[in-house]
Every structure is written in C-alpha cells, then in structure tokens.
C-alpha cells in the first residue's frame, strides 16, 4: 500500500493528467469538469507563490482577472486567433504581476498579504470605472471562441463542450509539465528554501527579493492563463473575476486541497466546486457552509486533504515524499 502511494506521489504529474482526462466522463456533467480543471490550474498557479515560496497573497484574483479581461477584450475588439487571444491574457497578467509584485515585495510578512489585496481591489475599482474598456458593471458578453488554428496545418473547432474541455486539458498538461520542470530545478529548490527559512537563504547568498519576484510573476502567468481559459469557457468576463471573493475562493481551494503539492490544487478545486454545486441545489448561500469548513481547515487541517492523506500513508516521516 505504501509502495503504491509512493509511486503515485512520484508520478504525480502523470496521475493528474490521467485523472483529468477521465473526469469529464465520470462527473455528472461536463461543465463541472471544465470548471474544475480551470480553477485547478488557477489554484496551481497560486500554489507556486503560496505553497512553494511561502508567500500568502490575498489578491490573486488580480491576475486571473487581468488574464480574463485581456483575452476577452482582445477577442472582441480584434479578429485575432485563439492562441493570440490567450497569449494576450498571459502577457497582460505577467505584466500586472511584475508591477504589482514589485510594490508588494517592498514589504514583508503580513504587510505583503495586505498589499496584494489592496492592489487587487484597486484593479477592481479601475475596471468598474473604465467602462469603455471593460464594459463596467455588466461586463463583456458574447466573447467568441475561435477555432484552434495553426496556419497551414490544422484548424480545430473547439466549440463543443467536450472538445473545449480537452483543449483546456492540453493547456493544463503543458502547464503541468513546465511547472514540474521549474519546481524540480535549482530555482524551484530555492523557492522552497525561502519558504522554509528566508533569512537563512539570504544568509547563504541568495538574492531572495528578486527570486520572490520571479516566483510572483510565474504565479501570475499561470493564473492569467486560467483567466484566459475561463473567458473562453463562459464567453464572458465581468467584475466578479477581479472581486475579493474570487481571491477568497482560490484560498479556500488551496487550503482544502493542500498547499505545496501538485495534487492539492486539483483536489481542492474539485472538492470545492463539487460542494458548491451540491449545496447550491438547496440554497444560494453556500458560503455559510464553506466558510466554517475553511475555518476548520485552518484550525485542524492546514495541510489540506492531500497533505493529510500523505501524512496518514506515511507515518514514518523520516523518509519524505519529495513531491506529489
């Protein structure tokens, strides 16, 4: 049993890719699967900053929103291709993360968290005022979903839900592979060092501020990608994408699933969205259930579902599971 678990952990990326390929067929409806995979990607992006580098951000909706709006605006205003639209989203969220990250990293610890929230709020207000660009309160509707085109080679229509799901799946696969590579690299090790003991990392000669900044930008990039995909998914982008509640959702998913792992974000997104779906059947006030669940997690299960599973499966924590 322990060996099976060890194997799953060692091949976490492979497992996730496989499971994600299967869920649209397992879950009651495709929309739920699509939401899970997109929010899973968003939470994965967030996890780079929080789970791996140890920086708590309360304003990650900013990069999700920037990606979502940029893609939406570009797709509606110009006749660009699918990949260009997504590229715009990622680019803008990267730029946003670079600028905001620079400001937020001027302070440490708890101030950092507050600043991330403040900047997200600032973006929210800016978007609601700049109606000509963002559509203001009602948002931008009827955003097209162009086919996936590689000029001269292929043109794949991704309009149908299942096809779109697998397009997103492909994006997530690529993201997972890239992220895995990055987190296994020397850079990834330094990130974890900073999480574990930033002062010592600095004392060892690492320019920790700059490394944290890079982590911030990476995190923003993947969050922006999720935003771009989300816009394509619902053909819409609005202020909710920048709202603090969205930042809260990301946090909830992260904590629920377990920070600092690859499985965690997807498990967290999955469980969260499933619960939301289920509870919304009874009442629209599902947060009254999720709020206390979050509180319980913080108090008793900060390592999240996957973290708890890991702990249970491996009592002798002398031999750690390096990833998963």
């Amino acid at each position: 049993m322990k060996n099976l678990f060890q194997w799953i952990s060692d091949h976490s990326v492979l497992m996730i890719i496989l499971v994600l390929a299967l869920i649209p067929f397992i879950l009651p409806y495709e929309a739920l699967a699509t939401q899970m995979i997109i929010w899973g990607l968003l939470t994965l992006g967030y996890n780079i900053l929080y789970g791996y580098t140890g920086l708590l951000s309360f304003g990650h909706a900013a990069y999700f929103g920037l990606g979502a709006y940029a893609t939406g605006i570009v797709l509606i205003r110009t006749n660009c291709s699918l990949l260009a639209g997504i590229g715009a989203g990622v680019l803008v969220s990267c730029i946003g993360a670079t600028v905001i990250g620079f400001f937020c990293l001027r302070r440490r610890g708890i101030y950092f968290a507050l600043l991330t929230m403040a900047f997200a709020q600032m973006l929210y207000f800016t978007a609601s005022i700049w109606e000509s660009l963002t559509g203001g309160e009602p948002g931008l509707r009827n955003i097209p979903r162009p086919p996936l085109e590689i000029p001269g080679l292929v043109s794949i229509n991704i309009y149908k839900p299942l096809r779109f799901y697998f397009f997103v799946w492909a994006c997530v696969v690529v993201s997972l592979l890239i992220l895995n590579r990055i987190l296994e690299s020397p850079f990834g090790k330094v990130l974890q060092g900073i999480r574990e003991n930033e002062k010592r990392a600095k004392a060892l000669g690492y320019n920790t501020n700059r490394i944290k900044w890079l982590s911030f930008i990476l995190s923003g990039a993947f969050s922006g990608l999720a935003g771009a995909l989300h816009t394509l998914y619902i053909h819409f982008v609005g202020l909710e994408q920048l709202y603090w509640e969205t930042s809260g959702k990301i946090l909830l998913m992260t904590l629920l699933g377990g920070p600092g792992t690859f499985f965690g974000p997807f498990i967290g997104a999955g469980v969260f969205l499933y619960l939301e779906d289920m509870i919304s059947g009874f009442t629209r006030y599902w947060m009254i259930v999720l709020g206390p669940i979050f509180i319980l997690c913080v108090l008793f299960f900060p390592q999240g579902i996957w973290g708890k599973v890991r702990d249970l499966a491996d009592k002798n924590r002398g031999i750690p599971l390096e990833r998963g």
Partner: protein, 247 residues
C-alpha cells in the same frame, strides 16, 4: 595578510550601544574565539560581520576588500558563512536538500530548467560535506526530524556548503552533551584546516582547546586579546568573566 580586520566597529540601537570600537584581527587559517559575558555584544558583532546588521561606525575589511555596509547576500558571496546558535535550517527539506541548497548558492539560482536532482557537481559536493559531518546515512530524513545534536551538525554543514573562506560559528556546541561536544570540537578542528574560523563560545574548555587566539568582549568593548595562556592569566578577564563560567 589578515583575512578579517575590523576597525572601530560600532553599533548603536537608539540609545543603546551594543558594540563599541571593536578591532578584530584574524589571520588566515586561524581559529579565533570571542568570549565575554552575556550581553557583551558577541552576537551583534557576528551580525555586523556577516551583513545582517549595518554598522553605525567603523569599517570591515575582508580578504583585502572593504565590505562595510554591503548587503547580506553579497557578503555571503564574498565567502563569509555563519552557523547559528539557534538552529537555523530548512525544516521541511531533507538533510541532503539542506546542504545542497547551500552548495547551489554559488551557482545561478535562475536555472529554471535542469533537474536539481541530477546535477552531478552539486550533488557530489553535498555528499562530501554530509560525509564530513557524519550525516550521509540520514540524508533522506527531514531536517525537522533529526535529533538536536544532528541538527547542530547540519547547521555547520549548511554553512560549509557555501565553500566559505571565513566561518563564523555562534555557539556551535550549545545544548550538546559532553560527548557530542567533543565530537563537534573534532569536526571544527577538521574543517578549520581549510578556512578561518571565528568562534563564539561559552564552554571554556572548548575555547581553550580550539583557539589560536582569543578576544574578550565586555559591554561591547574589547578588554583583552591574546593566546589562550595569556587570556587565562589576564587579571581583568578573570575578574570580569572567567570566574563564573562553566568549565
């Protein structure tokens, strides 16, 4: 040439003077101990040398270069490493990863692509150090799960990982049993072959055993300097310090 020279090094915190006009002279491959009662300014002195704190006044020369006021990570790159009194490792990383992280610091951290695990040179150096500090067989254990004594050795191992020229050791035997202390003293003597060491210690036997030279601090100022015999015989030192200390 002296490896480390400080001149009139002073540090004030508001109205409180922690270190006052301290001159340190450390030669190559020398082991020098800094002793003094609690509050004498020893820890502050370390922090000034390794860049954690900036001096209020005075200068610091290291390896022929003026490093006064440089950022901490830059000073580390010049070749000064610190092992801390309160164990300051990376708890949720393995022993091996702790040391490798230190070794890796001499390369670029912006390598986002190659696999850390298969980096031959880094891993080789980490292995070497782990064997030296006797933790090779515990390399896959989480640092947080090591015994206290092993953690103290890991502490030294991490400091060694950066291939320093000067090693600052803040009470390396703090909290260790007599056997563990002897083991650590042996380790320090072994590693001191290739580098210079400044040691802060309370255990007089360790100080007398290891040191080539001793500097005595009291209330932030240097009150005596010399080799172990000279210090043992020094009247002022006896009065101020040696009387009430564990042997």
């Amino acid at each position: 040439m002296e490896i480390l020279t400080t001149e009139n090094l002073t540090k004030k915190f508001g109205g409180l003077t922690a270190v006052a006009n301290v001159d340190i002279h450390l030669g190559k491959n020398e082991i020098q101990s800094i002793i003094g009662p609690n509050g004498a300014g020893k820890s502050t002195l370390f922090k000034l040398v390794n860049g954690e704190l900036k001096p209020t006044r005075g200068r610091i020369w290291f390896n022929g270069e003026d490093i006064t006021g440089l950022e901490q990570h830059l000073i580390s790159r010049k070749g000064i490493a610190t092992s801390y009194q309160i164990t300051n490792i990376f708890p949720k990383l393995t022993t091996f990863e702790n040391v490798r992280l230190a070794v890796q610091s001499r390369e670029t951290p912006y390598n986002l692509w190659s696999r850390a695990r298969s980096h031959e040179t880094l891993n080789g150096k980490a292995e070497e150090i782990l064997k030296k500090i006797g933790l090779w067989d515990k390399r896959d254990h989480l640092a947080a799960n090591l015994s206290y004594g092993n953690q103290r050795h890991l502490e030294i191992g991490v400091a060694l990982g950066t291939d320093p020229i000067l090693l600052l050791m803040d009470e390396p035997t703090s909290g260790l049993s007599p056997i563990e202390t002897r083991e650590t003293v042996r380790l320090i003597r072994e590693i001191a072959g290739g580098l210079s060491v400044i040691l802060v210690e309370h255990k007089m036997k360790v100080v007398m055993d290891l040191s080539d030279n001793i500097t005595v601090l009291h209330e932030g100022e240097v009150i005596a300097r010399g080799n172990p015999q000279e210090i043992r015989a020094n009247e002022t030192v006896r009065r101020v310090y040696l009387g009430g200390v564990r042997e």
